[in-house]
Symmetry: C2
Subunit: 453 residues, 2 copies
């Protein structure tokens, strides 16, 4: 077993709470897939001496130290100098990088200052990692004892491609870790505890099969989605072991999909929005949406996917009752007798937005997002949905035990789920749309943990 | 100067990249305001021995160690036992907590298992921090050398109130730090570099005045908003020093507001959405929105504020041109001659959505979010906006150098900014709506850093 990896994120802004560090989480998932073991993540400030000390300690105990941040041109960017000191070498300018920076500035008609030059200096002997998306290159330095310190910019849009295209290939080649095979199944409409229950025993028998692969299963919640993540590590470096691991992963994925059923909308990087757009495209169906309590979030969610304009016809956000009548032609009688948050209103909204847009599908959402507006009969979180198609209208009611923004989010997802499951023939007549407990689960922990997770 | 504070976030999920740690950033900002100095943040896994070692090291060098995570009932929740070991005491059950948990489970009709009992055990001598929003209480333990280790749950909805209501008051009383006065000015429509330039020299002369208060200024970007954060620390514990610090902060804030102008929409926790809703309410104006490329995000943004239903009449998301004609009555001739992404179309959309909703204000957005759909004449990021009022229609065009989701977000903000600045009389005839460089700034760093920050 080799020594592990550490991440050090650098910047005073991290210690003042002005920035949430998302880099280390992103890198952690990549290290797992690459087969390297992350042991520790540390965030430190810009002060030079403590930074050198942290780098020295980390390099002494770990095989690889990854840093993000502190590579910019300003005086408080001290990572490069600190790494040079920790490694025990001087800083040296790189002629090609310097010339590239000069040319870049000249093209822009800007004055090239001494500070800008700083970004062309690197610890002597380090491998330069080019930055195709910004000005500050990264680098990979080596200590006398053979540890590596690799420094990347803190801006995620620069760091991520630098990792993928420059650094990860070098580490994979030099350290030859055993890359793990990872498959994420992405779910909507099933609570985390239900997901856990359905997956109990999935790995029984898998461990030790296929040449003693190492197999793990994790779950992850990003409200309102859940993920089940399978990780299979081959037993050794042979092709046979790798193929065995791939077979095992495929078998486990197939079994997990059977157990989890229609809640799985995609795998790995597939988004919920992308799944809905794909289903609409496959069935050559065009969608119209009428929203009340979700306030435009269903339309926003759908249009996060490029090309959604091919399948999305019209969105209406009728916050005021008067608009439900005037624009959506919801009969005044429905609003008077049943109220805007009712099955009858949801059905009229879905039917009429479909007709108004001359679309194939119409979906509607009307409910109480809170914190105000609730009553004993219709508490905050009460939401009615409907789906209108050529063959009629279907209805769904839910009671979401969330605060405002989560009621909006759960409502937007559920509205699109009506369309998705209809298109995929996964909403049989007489069955509920979502797994029951997603709507009703409460545990004794109170509001903070209440509801689906 | 006392020794500092460290945060340790605990959980294997952090090292697998399944969770982004937002707790430490949140706590960092609170520590700053409380007057405690955060030195380091570390994320570690659930393994017992390394966890004990990290806690010991941290307690040896820091006055306060805050931990989050690992307080739950399951076997991999080991924080409590690790703290007890690090401090050198046994675990002891707390009768009152145990009884409370038992009753909670009984009320829910659940079986109280041995695992659940675990949450009623604490390091001997620790102060228990009740959890009003979940099952696992936190605690504050003390080492022989006088350092403190305070452990809180990892779930933000439980951790935050525990910090605010239980732990922060104890630390404020026992450590008597010098709380800093913090004021954040929240901006939209001004790039970070412009904001920096306008604030140059703001603190000159302030340092050392009012009894040598300590004064700092930071900036923070959360796209597309920017923040300027003033921090004033009183020179000592006297009332006079505190009052002096408050005067200094007020004077600096006033000067900063003059320099930054109308881009400042609020202070501290005030949101952009909240500012728009407040302005509409103050002027008793009702708004209607017609969106194309922002895809419902402007409506979603507005409705993030509770009570927005009082001022928001109607949102239309007309993705298809056919809908712009059929629902919004944009003349076919406008679409044919000028296209959907044009001044003429934006103006017709704003005028007609205002008329359709019988609202006081109508705003519109039509543009190209990308990645497809651009042309030489109208590249991706081209967006036209209009505002219709009783006295006419005003137009704005922008070219946003962003990827899809940021074009949507910038468009939604800009659409609402039209209404906000009109209502606040901050959009004089003949003047641009946003500061020029917000739209046109490009730097030589390429796409990754291009555009406003």
């Amino acid at each position: 077993m080799t020594r592990g990896v550490e991440i050090i994120t650098i910047g005073d802004e991290l210690l003042r709470g002005e920035v949430v560090d998302t880099n280390s989480s992103w890198l952690a998932a990549r290290l797992l897939a690459l087969g390297l073991r992350l042991e520790r993540v540390t965030s430190v400030g810009d002060d030079f001496e403590p930074l050198v000390e942290r780098l020295r300690e980390a390099a002494a105990r770990s095989e690889v130290v990854l840093t993000t941040g502190g590579l910019g041109p300003t005086d408080d960017d001290r990572t490069t100098a600190a790494v040079a000191r920790a490694v025990g070498v001087e800083l040296e300018p790189d002629g090609a990088v310097l010339e590239g920076l000069r040319q870049r500035w000249a093209r822009a008609g800007w004055t090239f200052t001494k500070n800008n030059e700083k970004q062309a200096f690197f610890p002597k002997g380090a491998t330069i990692l080019e930055n195709d998306h910004g000005t500050a290159p990264g680098f990979l330095a080596r200590t006398a004892s053979g540890s590596r310190i690799a420094s990347m910019p803190g801006i995620p849009a620069e760091m991520k491609p630098m990792w993928e295209e420059k650094l990860a290939p070098i580490l994979a080649r030099e350290l030859a870790p055993l890359p793990a095979l990872v498959r994420s199944l992405n779910l909507f409409g099933l609570g985390e505890s239900q997901m856990d229950a359905l997956l109990v025993g999935l790995l029984d028998g898998a461990r030790g099969s296929e040449g003693a692969c190492e197999v793990t299963l994790h779950t992850k919640t990003t409200f309102p989605e859940n993920r089940a993540i399978l990780v299979v590590r081959p037993a050794d470096r042979t092709d046979a072991a790798r193929e065995g691991a791939a077979r095992l992963l495929a078998a486990l994925e197939a079994e997990a999909r059977v157990r989890l059923g229609r809640s799985v909308f995609g795998a790995d990087d597939e988004t919920f929005s992308g799944a809905v757009v794909r289903a609409l495209r496959t069935r050559r169906a065009r969608l119209a949406i009428a929203e009340s309590c979700s306030g435009g979030l269903a339309a926003d969610l759908l249009t996060q996917t490029p090309g959604s304009s091919d399948v999305f016809e019209l969105g209406l956000v009728c916050y005021a009752n008067r608009m439900k009548e005037a624009v959506l032609n919801v009969p005044a009688e429905v609003l008077e007798r049943h109220g805007a948050v009712s099955r009858e209103c949801a059905e009229a909204m879905a039917r009429n937005v479909r007709a108004l847009a001359d679309a194939d599908l119409g979906v509607s959402v009307t409910g109480i997002a809170g914190p105000g507006g609730g009553s004993d009969e219709k508490p905050v979180g009460t939401v009615h949905f409907a789906l209108a198609t050529a063959s009629g209208v279907r209805h769904l009611a839910r009671s979401f035990p969330f605060e405002r923004q989560r009621v909006k989010l759960a409502s937007a997802y559920t509205a699109l789920a009506l369309a998705l499951r209809h298109l995929e023939d996964k909403w049989p007549e007489g069955e509920d749309l979502l797994e029951g407990r997603w709507a009703v689960r409460r545990d004794p922990a109170g509001a903070g943990r209440g509801g689906p997770r």
